[in-house]
Symmetry: C2
Subunit: 331 residues, 2 copies
């Protein structure tokens, strides 16, 4: 295991201490619990949006807490859900009089704990709604049981914009739902990653082998085989994406080329070029392109491609709204 | 070699095509040469700042071209200098009536080609000044012959701010010089990287081995040995940094924790926490902290720590000025 760490059991808390040391002007924690992560700039009267999930995916999940996006995050152990109590404590802190949207990835442990937190909020007369990201097409044929991966960024962006504009709880939920309905992701891994407290990879890939559809926790994909070229990966991925969610010639999409951790930014732009050649050939217009690390799996090598169809002008305006978090700034 | 690419010989040009496809609203190329990289938002009357260097270090070098920072970049092959002609062609395009500052890393090939470009500009009556980043303390005892690495970010930031504020060519040079005088970097690698057209690592490290002082092109460091903890690395690095550039109790610095490519952001924040504990213990104040990938070596695992001493309030204002490039936004 080649990592810059101290004791593996302190991985999450030392990471969080580093984040608070670096960005204490923007974020804080409550309840004497480093893992109850909140904005330091609470906006009265605004719908609060709370996310959460396991550590090991930065900037997912906590990195999107900040102006124009989210208000709080329950931080779990590496690849583990935060507890219901942590989510509840974050909820009590960031709730600002207009209710709370829980927006997180479609994983069993997270669903259980967010649902319990919602019940605890209900007893305090705090209104909540919930929606999960489930954009990973290759993870299941049934859209309802798909895992949430990098495409949740578009849900954060649209819901965050709607909340910042003063939308009601149901309007913010609707913005997240519209982004969800129009977003699909395909990802692939070239190397595994190592959970610090485990110390060895939880799966293996041969020297020239990759995995299509691999999940960000190492969930098995749909095939393992020789590494394909960027052009081939773009073609297979877009066939999957557009097969699942057709986009007509002349329609506009946002494109997200996401690195899983160890893959260089140079490669992401090569992949971006491959994707653009295909979209251009189909007459699909790209409204805005995002390239970089948006949802990772620590030092896993690989990438994902997300397409978010621009359903209307309101959605484009939400995508364009400025954002400022310690991990993501859009001006 | 596990990379998402097509033919290795097209690595640089396909990367650039991807960048122009994604960010054509902000950057462009001139002279029908993808490697002559320029801002699309030229500002009349402003001192132009041009950088350049080899590919393989994104966001260095071209990623800092944009509002509030740089105006152009000569893009070389992987780990190779751009040509004098490319730098000259970029110069002709971005020069806006107030002269040009060449600001790049202290590498022999780059110096030769930037100097030749400066002579070509002189024949066109375009005034130029030159300064090189040379912040890598472990690369040489003599400050003049040190390599330039991640600390050049602070030179870009301060010089870019001064130029955006309407500073003269000599004032912009002075801002870069002040940032240079106050910046030091120490880096270390845990794994090598692979040049695409070579196909294998240009050095090897054992399973539990790291290299202190390793350069971003694989230049040998000052020791290879067992991987140290984040706390140990922070202590050794700060001893080196502060031994070379003393910072008194009560003085303020900016801190840059830079990932070399494959190292996870989680680890960078653990390292940030280790560094902050030491600085806090010494009573050195941190004015602003930057954590992420600022100067990489493709998929090399490792990190660097840069300290930039805040010499005065003007420098702090330069650090705080908003920036917008396709790779780096500060609001």
């Amino acid at each position: 295991m080649k990592k810059i760490i101290n004791a593996p059991e302190n991985y999450v808390d030392e990471m969080l201490q580093g984040i608070y040391a670096a960005h204490g002007d923007q974020v804080k924690y409550v309840n004497d619990d480093l893992r109850c992560y909140c904005t330091a700039n609470k906006k009265d009267g605004k719908v609060a949006i709370i996310t959460g999930g396991g550590t090991g995916h930065l900037p997912l999940f906590l990195g999107y807490v900040g102006d124009g996006m989210l208000d709080g995050c329950g931080v779990g152990g590496v690849f583990q859900s935060p507890s219901a109590e942590q989510i509840y404590n974050v909820s009590k802190e960031v709730e600002a009089g207009a209710g709370i949207l829980y927006l997180y990835g479609n994983y069993t442990g997270d669903i259980m704990n967010f649902d319990m937190a919602a019940e605890m909020c209900e007893m305090d007369d705090i209104e909540t709604r919930s929606i999960v990201g489930a954009d990973d097409v290759n993870s299941n044929a049934n859209p309802d049981t798909r895992r949430g991966v990098a495409g949740i960024f578009f849900m954060y962006k649209c819901a965050g914009a709607k909340a910042a504009q003063g939308g009601t709880l149901d309007e913010v939920l609707a913005a997240a739902q519209k982004a969800k309905d129009n977003t699909r992701t395909v990802g692939f891994a070239l190397t595994p990653c190592v959970i610090p407290e485990v110390g060895h990879p939880n799966f293996t890939l041969g020297e020239n082998e990759m995995a299509m559809g691999m999940g960000i926790h190492g969930e098995p994909g749909i095939w393992n085989g020789p590494i394909k070229t960027a052009d081939e990966l773009a073609e297979e991925s877009l066939n999957t994406l557009l097969g699942d969610m057709p986009v007509a010639e002349g329609e506009e999409v946002c494109l997200l080329i996401n690195g899983l951790g160890a893959t260089s930014v140079e490669e992401l732009y090569i992949l971006c070029n491959s994707v653009r050649k295909i979209l251009d050939g189909k007459g699909i217009k790209v409204y805005r392109t995002f390239v970089g690390e948006y949802a990772t799996s620590m030092e896993m090598a690989g990438a994902s491609i997300s397409i978010c169809r621009m359903a209307d002008d309101e959605m484009k305006a939400q995508i364009d709204m400025p954002v400022k978090t310690p991990f993501y700034t859009q001006a």
